[in-house]
Amino acid sequence: MLDSLVGMKVLAAMSGGVDSAVAAARAVDAGHEVVGVHLALSRMPGTLRTGSRGCCTVEDAMDARRVADRLGIPFYVWDFSERFHDDVVQDFVDEYAAGRTPNPCLRCNEKIKFEALLDRAIGLGFDRVVTGHYARVEHTERGPELHRAADWAKDQSYVLGVLTGAQLERCWFPLADTPTKAAVRAEAAERGFLLAQKPDSHDICFIPDGDMRGFLAERLGAEPGEIVDREGRVVGSHEGVHGYTVGQRRGMSLGVPSPDGRPRFVLEVKPQSRQLVVGPKEALAVVRLAGTRISHAGAPHPQLADGLDVEVQIRAHADPAPARARMVGDELVIDPAEPLSGVATGQSAVLYEGTRVLGQVTIDRTVAADAAERLAEADAA
């Protein structure tokens, strides 16, 4: 195991949260030469935290610094705000503009923490980047493998599903085998870290007030449009399509009641015609998801080309679902055993085999269950 190797030079990414603090402390305990770094990601950092949102305030930088002081390790704040803006925030806005639903945390791991930061770390002579993620890297003869953390409730392997073998080779997640988050908090308290009881960050760090619609409207404009049902009948209106996500139910004003009186959900977001398509819950069910933006967490699984039974997870906290995955040309096609609900393009589908992450694909298209007949026809063709 990595943490039994002594004398590595490791860079601990410290957000100011409890997880990365304990991860850095464990790296120090393991006898490595540890340097702490806090990434400044916001161009205009707020001074103090508001609620439990976000992770880019001056207060967070200070919390990280104080942990580094206690650990007796050097500490720096590095400015990645430009990269973060270009690769994460702008990507987020662009994806919504195209009617897709991105996951910015995944993009941040892919482009910032394990690319921009990792590259700089390696260039500066570090052997590993340490973070407080709940996931496990196993180093095998075939190369590194990414696995779920011991604590499935906190498992973050989904948002790390974009990492490649080369990236995983240089990662170290000391919280991999921690039984629970409570244990991490207890350890932080025992170590005398004042941030032991700091609330978890959640939501999107660059939208500190949580108003995603407002954030997108500011950048993409908000033009009113129609809400239509699957037959194209106008059933309501909206103040701008951006921010609506497939599977969403709340936040729509529908003037025309649904024929059967049952709730309606967003089935499709069409930015060009400024339309939201809505329909009953069962219309959300998809039997196929596919995309071409694929990454393998380590060596590609040899059977993926021909077809492989896997589990697929489509959101950070969704349950994994049994599915069949195979390559068709340059497209990865995933057919869940039971139809999946609320799958939006732009999301990442992460494939698992047991606890192991095989890789992920950004979903470009889905096939709805009630189009199954057409699916069969398409396959025949």
Binding site: H38, P45, A61, V77, D119, G123
Partner: protein, 375 residues
């Protein structure tokens, strides 16, 4: 660790450390009893010694918590006084001043003060052809100028600025925080009305500074209370801090000529070696502070360069940090017309040895090359 960041704070002098460690407890200098009188004597003696070092009258020395407070008191105080006298006058300020000045002026601007920004040249030297007209167009409440750029080290045309200010009848504030104790400077000869200095830049304690306020200059106070120090800076006075500042100032001035010669030779070496490296530029003017060598390194990240030098045992500055700890892009370097390059300020002090400079010059080319390879 080799200290090449003396301009941020130079280590406390041994004499000051000894004086601090052996100091007797002091009462409140404002107290009228005998203990208070003893404290006042310590305080006023310190003020007199500082006045000699600063080239002013003791009455003109207003002790503060440091450079930032002094600058704020000078600029806000002068502007409010002018406004109260019926002239909501303009502030004349070069663009490459310290943040204490820029941010104080920006605050005043937000509260209604007209601001006349003055450009600098590619060596961060204030352009007199812009400074003079900004004064001569009339209606200015106060003008300000660094004695020398705290970042690149270029000396500023203080004499000419004072003459222009005098002709226009506008009080001039000199920011001497980084220059006092390093270049000859006497308030009475400078022609300025106000002058800010700080103790920790010359080996005194942190948290002590002074604003020299010419006896005929009107400024408003920022702090109100007991009316100490001509009513310009209420608050119990730090007699011990003042005496330690005075001690540091006396020592700095006693060794000024010798140190200027010694440190100039060292910074000349750094400058000529650095200038021979590809893609490294020197922005500093020929007339400069003796203890600062400033380089701009093209094609490298300042964060990476600073990390590599820090790791190798060299404390250097890659610019001032914001409150989160991020090194901000230097407005001074940008004002010199340079963008996207890593600034590196190497500042020396009385503890710097030739061997340390040798070690730095041996490490610098490799660190630059490596920082560049990171893209």
């Amino acid at each position: 660790m080799h200290q090449f960041d003396h301009a941020a704070s130079t280590p406390m002098r041994e004499s000051v450390r000894q004086a601090l460690a052996t100091a007797a407890p002091l009462a409140n200098p404002a107290s009228t009893h005998r203990e208070g009188q003893r404290a006042r004597a310590v305080l006023e003696e310190a003020r007199e010694r500082l006045a000699i070092a600063l080239g002013c009258h003791p009455t003109e020395v207003v002790l503060t918590s440091g450079g930032t407070e002094s600058i704020n008191l000078a600029l806000k105080g002068a502007w409010w006084a002018a406004r109260d006298a019926g002239a909501a006058g303009a502030i004349v300020v070069p663009v490459a001043e310290h943040h204490a000045t820029l941010d104080a002026v920006a605050w005043l601007e937000a509260h209604g003060a007209p601001v006349r920004w003055v450009r600098v040249d590619e060596q961060a030297v204030t352009d007199l052809d812009a400074f003079r007209p900004a004064l001569e167009q009339g209606g200015a409440a106060v003008a300000t100028m660094l004695v020398a750029s705290n970042e690149v080290g270029s000396l500023q045309p203080v004499r000419e600025a004072a003459d222009a200010s005098a002709r226009a009848g506008v009080p001039l504030h000199l920011d001497a925080v980084g220059a006092f104790g390093h270049v000859p400077l006497r308030f009475v000869d400078s022609g300025a009305s106000l002058m800010s200095v700080a103790s920790h830049k010359i080996g005194g304690p942190h948290g002590v500074g002074a604003l020299v306020v010419g006896r005929d200059v009107r400024i408003e106070a920022l702090h109100h209370g007991g009316g100490q120090q001509r009513g310009l800076r209420s608050g119990t006075q730090d007699a011990l801090g003042a005496s330690l500042f005075a001690l540091a100032a006396e020592e700095a001035l006693a060794e000024l000529d010798a140190e200027a010669t010694r440190l100039s030779a060292m910074t000349d070496r750094i400058r000529s070696t650095a200038a021979s490296l590809p893609g490294v530029r020197i922005l500093t003017a020929e007339a400069r502070l003796p203890h600062i060598a400033h380089l701009v390194v093209e094609g490298a990240s300042g964060e990476a360069l600073q990390f590599l030098l820090d790791e190798a045992g060299f404390a250097v500055s890659n610019g001032s940090a914001c409150s989160a700890g991020v090194a901000r892009e230097s407005h001074v370097v940008r004002a010199c017309g340079v963008e996207g390059a890593a600034p590196l300020r190497l500042s020396l002090g009385r503890t710097t040895t030739a061997a340390e400079v040798d070690a730095l010059l041996a490490a610098l080319p490799g660190a630059i090359e490596r920082a560049r390879s990171l893209g």
